[in-house]
Symmetry: C2
Subunit: 212 residues, 2 copies
C-alpha cells in the first residue's frame, strides 16, 4: 500500500501490536479484529482501528485482518524486513554491551563493525571487528553504511558525529548524553539513558522528601 | 542549596556538562566559567549560565566555579551520589545485556537481582542472582527496593508492572515497547529502542525514495 505520513505516537504503538500478534497461534487466531486487539492490550478501539488502517489495507468488515498478513504489513512498515547495516563508534562499556545484544536482529539492525580511538580488542566476544577511527570513512563508503551508532563519551560525540557524516552516514543513533549539531538531511535519534536514570532518581528523591 | 523545580531539557544537558568537566585536569582548570564551558561545548552562554545556577550556588563573578565543587553539585543534583537499588524483570537478551553493563554504576544505579518467569540461569555472568517471579514481592520489600526495570516482551509488561507496584516500586524504567498504566504517584520512564530504530529506519527509507 502507499505510504502515508505517520506520527511518532503511532510508531510507538506499532511494536506493541506486533509483539502481541506474534504471541497468537494460527490455529486459534487466523484472523484478528481491531476490537479484539484493542481489548487484549487495554487500548481504545478507535485508536487501534486507525493505527492498523495506516499500515495495512487488509482489514475486512466483521472479520478483521489475516494475522500473518498484518504482521508482515507492520514489519514492512517499520522497516524490519529491510536490514539496516550500521557502524558503532566507541567500543567502551556501553558500546560492547550493544554489540553483544543479539536482539537487534529482530528489528533489522545489523552492526557490521565497531570503531574506537584506541581499541582494547580487535574483535568482540560476539565476533564483530573493532577497528581504529582512520578506517571509518573507507569502511562506510565501501560497505555503503548509512546508519551510525554513537557510544563515545559526551565530549567526543560531536567530532565523531562530523566524521560519520563525512563518511556518508544519514541516520545517527546517539547514546552520548549531549546535543549534536547536524545538517537538516541527517536524522539524530537520541537515546539518553543517563537522563532517564536522572529523571527516575529525582522522582524517588522527591517521594522520600514528601514522606518526611 | 535548596532544590528548585527543573525542566527535563535542563536535565538532559547536565550529564553533558558533567562528562566534559571530568575530562579537565585540576592543574590547568581548577576554576571554570560558564563562558568557557559554553565555548567548549558549542552551546549558548546564557543557557549554560542559567543551567549551572540551577544546580550550584558556587559561581563567583569573573572567576567561575571551582571545577571539583561543580562536579559534586551536578552529581548530587542528578542523584548520582545516592545509589538507587533496582530490580530487573525479564532475563532475556536485553535484560542480560543491561545486567552485564557496568557503566550504570557511574550513574548511581545498582541492580540487585533479576527476575524471570522461567529463568534460564540462576546467576548471570556478572554475578547477579536470577530469581523466579514468586520471589519478587518479598525481595523488594525486604531490600526496600523502589526502582524496577522492565525488559520483558510487550505483552507481559503491564502484568509485570502491576506486580512491581504491588511490591512497593515507585519508579519504573520501561524497555518494553508498550504503554503502561500506572497510578499517579508512580513514574514510568520509557526507553523504547524499537521505536528509535523504526524512526531511523524510516528516515533512511524516505531518503532512498527521494533519490529514485
Amino acid at each position: 500500500m502507499e505510504r502515508k505520513e505517520i506520527s511518532k505516537s503511532v510508531l510507538k504503538r506499532l511494536p506493541g501490536y506486533l509483539a502481541y500478534l506474534k504471541t497468537l497461534s494460527n490455529e486459534t487466531n487466523a484472523y484478528i479484529s481491531a476490537t479484539a486487539l484493542a481489548n487484549a492490550l487495554g487500548m481504545g478501539e478507535v485508536q487501534v482501528r486507525k493505527d492498523l488502517a495506516m499500515v495495512s489495507d487488509g482489514g475486512r468488515p466483521k472479520i478483521g485482518y489475516l494475522r500473518e498478513s498484518l504482521i508482515d504489513d507492520i514489519e514492512q512498515f517499520l522497516g524490519y524486513d529491510n536490514t539496516n547495516d550500521a557502524v558503532l563508534i566507541g567500543a567502551g562499556k556501553l558500546g560492547l554491551a550493544l554489540l553483544g545484544y543479539s536482539g537487534f536482529d529482530d528489528y533489522g539492525l545489523n552492526i557490521l563493525a565497531a570503531f574506537d580511538a584506541a581499541p582494547a580488542v580487535t574483535v568482540t566476544d560476539s565476533g564483530k571487528p573493532v577497528l581504529t577511527m582512520d578506517k571509518l570513512e573507507s569502511f562506510c563508503k565501501s560497505n555503503k553504511v548509512r546508519m551510525g551508532i554513537i557510544t563515545v563519551p559526551a565530549v567526543h560525540a560531536q567530532s565523531v558525529c562530523d566524521q560519520l557524516i563525512a563518511s556518508g552516514i544519514k541516520a545517527i543513533w546517539n547514546f552520548a548524553p549531549t546535543h549534536l549539531d547536524v545538517p537538516s538531511h541527517i536524522l539524530v535519534q537520541n537515546e539518553n539513558m543517563a537522563t532517564s536514570l536522572a529523571v527516575l532518581s529525582m522522582h524517588l528523591q522527591a517521594q522520600m522528601k514528601e514522606k518526611k
